[in-house]
């Protein structure tokens, strides 16, 4: 699988006026494969936006390398026509209409007005396209930014916190849009601190903390990172179930009305057989998978850890 984004030991320091230095990105390694949605997660100040700015040639890395579609930032102009992006909040001219803002950008790349109409419809802004941007809500401005990013019909979309300011309906729309773009074979690289959003849209994620990658890989692998593989069993007689499992030498514990079993999901049949043999019938059996939020909080507070 070709990598569309490659970072090797990327480092960015900002010098402050009094000579002190702030390390925003500290030796970041990352490889983003082509196609699908890739979530770039991290708490505020983790270095997500700085990384994106390095990728887009807006800031110069202090060290390391970054490549976008196989090109270093110095050669970015060769591929910029294949990349759509939003960096932080999209900035548009408030006293121009949404359509005029897009037309101004489209003009840079010789993109026609029909494409402007298409993207406005794609982000559900067609009916407000001729209103001034200053009358837009935050969510509409965000959607206009996404429309601008889509203008070039890009194969790689870099979206920095695209759900910022969106209402629940807007979040769902953006989520669907990202999924659709990912399914179409494009790569959507989306940074976010809204973990549930990424969990629902991304196939792969990287978690960033203090300027470093602390976990990267397919979402399901990252979710089990640092957690003993286990099973969750729900049944009426929790005490009886625990006894039955203990008698069979299976480690288990009661937790909030369910039984957590220390066996990998592949051994689920052993659990059902053990319980059924004692006349205990379970009502639910599923892998004990932490949600991304739990993993995120664990990882961003811990030492670096590689998975997948």
């Amino acid at each position: 699988m070709d990598a569309v984004i490659e970072l090797e030991g990327l480092r960015k320091e900002y010098r402050r006026l009094r000579g002190s230095r702030t390390v925003a990105v500290d030796g970041l390694d990352l490889s983003v494969p082509s196609g699908g949605v890739f979530g770039f997660l991290g708490p505020n100040g983790a270095g997500k936006t700085t990384t994106i700015r390095c990728l887009l040639g807006l800031v110069r890395p202090t060290g390391g390398r970054c490549r976008l579609l196989g090109h270093e930032p110095a050669d970015l102009h060769r591929v910029i026509g294949r990349i759509g992006s939003i960096v932080e909040s999209p900035t548009m001219y408030p006293r121009f209409t949404g359509r005029r803002n897009l037309e101004l950008l489209a003009r840079i790349d010789g993109i026609g007005r029909s494409r402007v109409r298409e993207v406005l419809e794609q982000v559900s802004l067609a009916d407000r396209a001729d209103d001034l941007v200053k009358t837009y809500s935050l969510g509409m401005k965000q959607r206009l930014g996404i429309a601008a990013a889509l203008l070039k019909d890009p194969e790689l979309l870099i979206l920095d916190e695209p759900a910022n300011g969106l209402d629940p309906a807007g979040i769902v729309e953006v989520r669907e849009l990202m999924r659709r773009l990912g399914r179409d074979g494009r790569t959507v690289f989306v940074s976010s601190h809204i973990l549930s959003e990424v969990q629902q849209t991304a196939e792969r994620v990287a978690i960033l903390a203090r300027g470093r990658t602390v976990a990267t890989g397919p979402v399901h692998e990252v979710l089990t990172a640092g957690h003993a593989a286990g099973l969750v069993v729900r049944l009426d007689d929790v005490a009886g179930g625990l006894r039955a499992l203990a008698e069979s030498g299976i480690a288990a514990r009661s937790d909030d009305g369910v039984i957590r079993v220390d066996l990998p999901p592949a051994d689920a049949a052993r659990v059902t057989r053990t319980l059924a043999d004692r006349g205990l019938y379970l009502s639910e059996l599923r892998p004990d998978e932490a949600d991304l939020e739990t993993v995120f909080l664990e990882l961003t507070g811990d030492a670096p850890k590689e998975t997948g």
Partner: protein, 248 residues
């Protein structure tokens, strides 16, 4: 580059500040035209002098427009957006400079033309058009052209300062401080440095006669070239800074 340039021209002429300042200038010209019409019998032959006298307003507006062309972009964060479309900063800067300076040149000529029309109406109605001949036209056109060129140069000063300071106000503040305070101090304390002062050279270039500004020991074209060289140097410095600094 053509597309980028076309986009920058469109961006410049869409700016509210451009429209507001242009409107204010036209309203001021109309009011002045009415006042002149009502109070005196205007002689159109003095039009070149009117152009010279009103150049200060045009140059101030040009400085402001040049500064705002990049300062407002920095302030609002549009520079980031543009660089995600055209990452070659040299091209972005060149397109912005060409669009701003050319637009200011055209606007300056247009405003002077409107002023000329207003005063021609006055002269035709109540005043006199005596002395309006080919040499008058040639002189008026030369003054208008020099004022327009100087407007572009002053827009370049404003642009360069706003680009380095990443803010329109920086360019206006530094411009005011330098032209009004520093140059006056230099003129008083170090008169031998006068040939290098922007205001004196600008005065010579607008007036168009060495005999009226003898202190400089420089030709009219020399004054224009000196001012252009300063503008180019400032713009090159601003471009270098733009290429070197992070866009955060």
């Amino acid at each position: 580059m053509t597309n980028l340039l076309a986009s920058e021209f469109r961006r410049f002429r869409s700016r509210r500040l451009v429209k507001v300042l242009l409107l204010l200038e036209i309203v001021a010209i109309a009011v002045a035209g009415v006042i002149v019409y009502l109070t005196q019998e205007y002689e159109l032959s003095s039009f070149p002098d009117v152009l010279k006298g009103s150049s200060l307003v045009l140059l101030s507006v040009a400085w402001m427009l040049g500064a705002s062309a990049i300062g407002a972009e920095w302030h609002a964060g549009h520079v980031t957006t543009i660089l995600t479309w055209e990452p070659r900063r040299g091209r972005v800067m060149a397109a912005k400079i060409v669009a701003s300076l050319t637009s200011v040149f055209v606007l300056s000529l247009a405003v002077q033309a409107v002023l000329g029309i207003a005063l021609a109406i006055d002269a035709a109605g109540r005043g006199s058009t005596a002395g309006v001949d080919a040499s008058w036209l040639s002189e008026a056109a030369a003054v208008a052209l020099r004022v327009a060129l100087l407007s572009s140069i002053f827009a370049g000063f404003g642009f360069a300062l706003a680009s380095v300071g990443r803010n329109t106000a920086v360019a206006l503040g530094v411009g005011f401080g330098y032209l009004v305070i520093v140059e006056n101090l230099v003129r008083g304390l170090r008169p031998q440095w006068t040939p290098w002062l922007l205001t004196d050279n600008a005065g010579l270039f607008v007036v168009g006669s060495q005999t009226d500004v003898p202190l400089l020991g420089r030709t009219v074209a020399g004054a224009g070239l000196y001012l252009a060289a300063v503008a180019v140097a400032l713009l090159l410095g601003a471009s270098g800074t733009f290429r070197a600094r992070d866009v955060t």
